[in-house]
């Protein structure tokens, strides 16, 4: 049976029960490879499909999912979702949108034809581990891998919507453990691309090796307050930890600290942030969200002022505004909101200004979820990086902590760089920010 015929079977049962609903079908195939001591250590091939149903009856919402696709299981899926709805409190703002659009993504952008063979991928995995392990002082490469997969998402609704997305993602990663006497260090990185041929093994190996060598002799710096630049990977992760500040869902639930601050200044006047689902260079490129609402560039922070929260149709209705095309829902999850890919506007500091005087560049933060409270903004992370002066690294730094309040930090920005950079996952595009007066413990 096709995905469409499964959907027809499920949604006709929903309609027959006097309810409305939407069905998400996720399916995909993937290969994952890991190497050890020059041999393939793990070879994994996977094939999966899952159905996730949301029903709304008498303003009550219920969800259920199933990995089984036989007729009995799909009937049971509908019954279970209806039963669950019976227990929920009425939610007058959550509706199945009156949207009968037939939407699909462009395979030439998101899912190009892949000429690489399984053998090509295996050779890549073996060479990645072998060449990195062969470098001087590298004890081993304990974590490494090459992955390649194609995933599809179909959203069908009783209103006639069919939104289909198909995308390919190829990635490689490696961590090198380096030892010299009693000292050791482990650093890692990765690459992601739409096509296997776009992965650059040599540059990945060189980056991982150099990062590990550079940090090996790291020592703590004295405790105190420092200017800090988070490197491009860590800066994106830091904003990710606190992105609840943009969530209309969290605002509706009363746990977004910015819920009453739309239109107010929440950051330095030089800070402007947009969500840019229309940027095809990133892996957050999207034409529509999980309700089938078109996704478009959205201004979130303009010159320090919070201009909007992100909304799905339910949160938009609650706040009497329009959906911003940020609905998220998975087969196992209820309706939420999520960013596509952040883009921060470049600032006016050139490299010389940005790197003037003494500062810390932090290249690794640990405990980013356990050490952060997105509601209060407080955080305390383990960190490593480099003490720098006038753009030169003068000392590798390890075993320190960095602590503060993220929402206060947004108002305490020293400089914003002129050049934007993607993180390696290509999920956000940002210039470097130099934050002032950050607490460091060494």
């Amino acid at each position: 049976m096709t995905v469409e015929s499964h959907a027809e079977q499920v949604l006709s049962l929903v309609t027959k029960a006097g309810a409305k609903g939407d069905l998400i079908v996720d399916q995909g195939n993937a290969i994952s490879l890991k190497a050890r001591d020059g041999e393939l250590e793990e070879h994994k091939v996977t094939s999966s499909r899952i159905f996730g149903l949301r029903v709304i009856k008498d303003d009550k919402v219920g969800t259920a999912y199933s990995e089984a696709a036989d007729a009995d299981s799909l009937s049971s899926l509908v019954e279970q979702a209806l039963t669950n709805a019976g227990y929920a409190a009425p939610e007058v703002h959550e509706k199945i949108l009156a949207n009968d659009a037939q939407l699909s993504t462009d395979d030439s952008i998101l899912c190009p034809e892949e000429p690489a063979t399984t053998e090509d991928r295996i050779q890549m995995a073996l060479a990645l581990e072998r060449e990195l392990a062969g470098k001087e002082r590298v004890k081993n490469v304990p974590y490494n891998g090459v992955q390649d997969g194609v995933g599809e998402r179909h959203v069908f609704s009783t209103a006639g919507l069919h939104a289909a997305t198909k995308s390919r993602s190829c990635s490689a990663f490696a961590y090198a453990l380096i030892e010299e006497g009693e000292k050791n260090a482990m650093e890692g990185s990765g690459q992601v691309a739409r096509l296997f041929s776009e992965l650059d093994r040599s540059s990945l190996i060189e980056k991982v090796y150099q990062d590990a060598i550079d940090i090996l002799d790291g020592e703590p710096v004295p405790s105190g307050h420092y200017d800090v630049i988070f490197d491009k990977e860590m800066q994106v992760s830091l904003f990710g930890v606190f992105n609840v500040m943009f969530s209309g869902k969290s605002a509706k639930d009363g746990i977004n600290p910015m819920r009453d601050k739309v239109g107010e200044t929440i950051a330095d006047a030089r800070l402007s942030i947009m969500d840019r689902p229309d940027n095809t260079n990133g892996f957050g490129y999207s034409l529509f969200d999980d309700e089938g609402t078109p996704a478009a560039a959205t201004e979130l922070v303009k010159e320090g002022k919070l201009t909007t929260l992100i909304h799905n149709s339910m949160t938009a209705s609650h706040f009497d505004t329009q959906s911003t095309g940020h609905a998220t829902r998975g087969p196992r999850s209820t309706l939420g909101v999520g960013l596509h890919q952040l883009e921060m506007a470049p600032g006016d500091a050139d490299d010389t200004q940005l790197h003037q005087g003494k500062y810390l560049t932090l290249t690794e933060l640990t405990g980013m979820h356990s050490g952060a409270n997105a509601i209060s903004g407080e955080f305390s992370f383990g960190a490593s990086g480099f003490l720098c002066e006038d753009g030169q690294r003068i000392q590798p730094v390890r075993n320190i902590t960095v602590a503060g309040n993220f929402y206060h930090m947004l108002k305490n920005i020293g400089l914003i760089g002129q050049t934007q950079h993607w993180n390696w996952q290509k999920s956000a595009l940002m210039p470097a920010i130099r934050f002032s007066d950050i607490a460091i413990s060494g």
Partner: protein, 461 residues
Amino acid sequence: MLATQTAQSVIDHGLSLGADFAEIFVEKSQSSNVSTLRERVQSVESGIDFGIGLRLVYGTKVLYGYTNNTRADDMMRILSDLAARDLRDPRVNMTAFDYRDAPNRHPLKKMLSDDPAIESRVAYLLKADAAARAASNLISQTRGMCREVEQRIEIFNSEGLHTEDTRHYVRATMTSIASDGAEQATGMQSNGGMIGWEIVDNLDAEETGTEASRQAIVNLGAKPCPSGRMPVVIGNGFGGVIFHEACGHLLETTSVAKKASVFHDKLGEMIANPAVSASDDGTITNEWGSLNIDDEGMDTQRTQLIKDGKLVSFLVDRIGSEQTGYQRTGSGRRESYKFAPASRMRNTFIEPGNAEFDDMIGSIDQGIYAAQMGGGSVQPGTGEFNFAVREGYYVEDGKIQYPVKAATLISTGPAVLKEISMVGGDFSLECGMCGSISGTIPAAVGQATLKVDDILVGGNA
């Protein structure tokens, strides 16, 4: 769940491809999630996961695939694809299946499949919610969650093993948010076990809600935490997360075999202060990380890891045993059929001692009492770890002074083990979710209150 004849043909096929070992892991899991938000049911979700994991082993090399399809030809196709580069003449013969009942160490009464009534879950959460809101007018939001999973597994392997087991997990959590208009803070209280919904008979909903709000209020009034190296007293229960992350993961053959653990060559050596003994135990009745059998079909056990400071065992799964030569310890675990098993922890803890809490606090000139720990992470290769303090207090002149916020503890596994100088007797275990190479699994952590003489505290004072 899978016909024996089908399993037989699939494993026969795997061995015909030259594999040393073939295994089928069948899983059907039923789950239910009830969540409340301020006096009302926010959502009720449920679902069925079903799939089959297929593993071929050539020496120490693992080939793994999975499917949602129970057809033998589909499973055989996956095995053929996986083994395409490793084909060789058959090395071993299939041993006929000998069905073995798994031991029943953990009685389960009210499981989802026979007691799916949502009403009692809702009643429990709303009672806790009311108590949380009644605790203070500074409580601005309350959120409850009750998650249950009934996991049925069936394992066949080429050594003739055929066995089945059912696990049932319950976890109920209440979160409170306190706000004074300018700042917000959170508190959280959680209970759970590898047990049916009969757990509710031993839970006090009001106490759960009150405790979540007490933490939130304490944190709302907390001051910035001093930073630097200092002694820290770590509270019982979830304080054991430090041992779990900083040491437990380094004792799994997953990292030991790769020499990615700082302890890989330390068996038989003193790696901790003699005050420290530690175990990983899957036999504790109905505890969160307990099992009847592991995900490779081996009976669970209690494994002594450290005895009086000396490293006496690693945690060993089948592949880890092949790679290191150590005996299996029933530690092969995985999140679901989507993962090959790996050596993982169950209920991991530092054993209790006899130090008194007042003596620990009284011995500190300047330091921290970390009453409640949050999560953290560790880098296995170097042993470097970090942990968040969820509820902490500044200690000066042997007395607890005031609550502190945003504190993190930083050290390495080998270093902190040697700095534990006093262990109390107030032992307890708490639930956690442990993420690693074979997915995210239930694992309990535990300890009595203990004192670390010197550790780096990160704060923003």
